[in-house]
């Protein structure tokens, strides 16, 4: 129990099966509080499945999920957010018919516990509006508040996605391919943003852009075919032969190509 309580996230023997297919076969992980942990692996390694198990959108077939030593395996998604676990989505998932500011305000209002009130107009909560705008400025969306989220470019939607997640006040932030489809400049800014997150915020990152991963991560976990292959520092992972074989130096060119475009 002592090791569990020092870890922000601990996964014990997580197994997920879809019928005959085993997506995750007994994966165990421990992520200390405040760490930036990248999870990499070829397509089908189970990265996204692992995230959905932590976020609560998918119940594992077996195993336990602990956050700050507390078993959250059977908590619904919204209770996990209360416990500090917040996810961004691989494919931008926003409120496209609301404004950029309203997207963030939704998360802010929930945290401020005013989301059930209906006698004051939303515009009267000036401090919440200011806070939402500050978060938008932080992800580089200052001046875009009044646009409908549906009018944003792909890269801007990814930025808004991060702002919405931050507005939910995560202690454990799960970033599912945050740089997918971003231009190099946008990826750079995203890297700066992630580096600038509070030191006590634990960040789990699934990402295909390995430059970004090696730049940001304290430690890297490699999944392969639903199994835990290795967890180590960046330098060791780059040097590890198994990892090279499974992922980085794969001889299968088609597979590499497939990853990069996904």
């Amino acid at each position: 129990m002592t090791t569990e309580s020092t870890n922000a996230v601990a996964l014990h023997d997580i197994t997920v099966r879809f019928g005959q297919l085993t997506a995750l076969a007994g994966v165990s992980l421990e992520v200390p509080a405040g760490q930036r942990r990248a999870i990499i692996g070829p397509n089908g390694a189970g990265k996204s499945t692992l995230f959905s198990v932590i976020a609560g959108t998918r119940r594992p077939t077996g195993g336990r999920v602990l956050v700050d030593g507390r078993d959250i395996t059977s908590l619904p998604v919204h209770r996990r957010v209360d416990a500090g676990v917040v996810t961004t989505f691989q494919h931008s998932s926003l409120f496209l018919r609301e404004t950029v500011l309203e997207n963030v305000l939704l998360a802010v209002a929930r945290r401020a516990r005013v989301a059930h009130r209906w006698f004051r107009p939303a515009g009267a909560y000036r401090d919440l509006l200011d806070h939402s705008a500050t978060l938008l400025a932080r992800v580089g969306l200052a001046g875009r508040e009044a646009l409908l989220a549906g009018a944003l470019s792909h890269g801007e939607r990814r930025q808004l996605e991060v702002a919405v997640a931050l507005a939910a006040q995560p202690r454990v932030l799960l970033l599912d391919e945050p740089a997918a489809g971003m231009s190099p400049a946008e990826t750079d800014r995203l890297g700066q943003l992630i580096r600038g997150l509070p030191a006590d915020m634990t960040v789990l990152l699934v990402e295909h852009d390995l430059d970004l991963v090696f730049d940001l991560a304290d430690e890297v976990t490699v999944l392969h075919l639903g199994e835990h292959l290795a967890t180590a520092g960046v330098a060791e992972i780059r040097a590890d032969e198994n990892v090279q074989h499974a992922y980085l130096g794969t001889a299968d060119v088609d597979e590499l190509f497939f990853e990069e475009t996904s």
Binding site: A55, T57, P76, V77, H78, V81, D82, V86, T87, F89, S93, L94, F95, L96, R97, E98, T99, V100, L101, E102, L105, L106, A107, A109, R110, R111, V114, A115, H116, R117, W118, F119, R120, P121, A122, G123, Y125, R126, L129, D130, S132, A133, T134, A137, A142, E145, A146, L147, L148, G150, A151, V164, A165, A167, A168
Partner: protein
Amino acid sequence: MSPDPDLRRALRFGLRPGRWTVLAWAAVAVVLAAAPFLLNNYQISTLSRMLVFGLLAISATLLTGVTGLPTLGQAAYFGVGAYTAAIVARDVTAIGPVQVLLAAVAAAVVALFTGTLATRARGVPFLMITLAIGEIAHSAATSWSSITRGSDGLSGIPRVVPLPGMSELRLDGLVYYYVLVMAALAYLLVRALVRSPYGLVLRGVRDNEARLRAIGYPTGRYVLAGFTVAGGLAGAAGALLVSVQRFVSPGDVGFSVAAVALLAAIIGGVGSLPGAMAGAALVVLVRDYIGTDLGGRGPLLVGAMFVAVVYLMPQGLAGLGHQLRRWFSWRRRSTPPPAGAPSSAEPETTPDDPQPSVGSDRSAT
């Protein structure tokens, strides 16, 4: 980086209504206030029914347009409210607001219980469940004759007394004023809801419920609360109907009433409260007024109108103002020179603005 000094412009309902909106409302108020002096008795009671069905349409809009849950069940709560108000009026008190309040509470309670089942579904399954609720309510109104007197309906309901100490309203014009005031109060209540943080959450359910859960919302509870409020509102509308026609029968609980509510909500434009009001007025006008001259082919005309609106005005009546405004400003722009172009208080999106913002959607107030 310091945030914008006034961020309310970035909220859909953040800004004060523009000059034209205020003028339009003032015009509507004048017309509604003058109506009893201009219309005959049948016309004025038709106008009262328009207000009643307008409220019912608003309750349907709250679910269909705002929350994204198309419903055919609002007639059930309308009926619960109508029967409750009728019984209260007959046995307890003739004071209207008391009837409305009790009717709303009764309907909200029924909505809360039936809603725990209905709000587990979304989309077409939700529509089917609400349809079933409506049909059950209709059956109950027909066969639970110890309370409803079956298909005979409840009659002999005393005239409404608007406030304690006042005398009963004997003229249709005065009943109309009573309904107008009550409908306006209910309208303002719903308007506040739609503009509040809670209203934003309901719109979030419509847009992306999974995302809403992922930022910590137990969405089921929020939807159930919205369902309950909408039910209470439909119940209040039912109470007003009883004040207007002093009679209630299973026909007021039937599918046709639920369909009128949904049609009015859609004709009005998705999520628009004034649109729902206008949609209900149009449907009642066509069905009860023009339809009577067509030998009972009113429903056919309503159906044709519905098809026409869906094809010609996909944003409904609420989009009409915006369409006209675009058309006018396009005309204005094409007439050189635009010297002294009126500097409207609201930052309007110009027709050539490629980026939609809230400014382009203000008509959905």
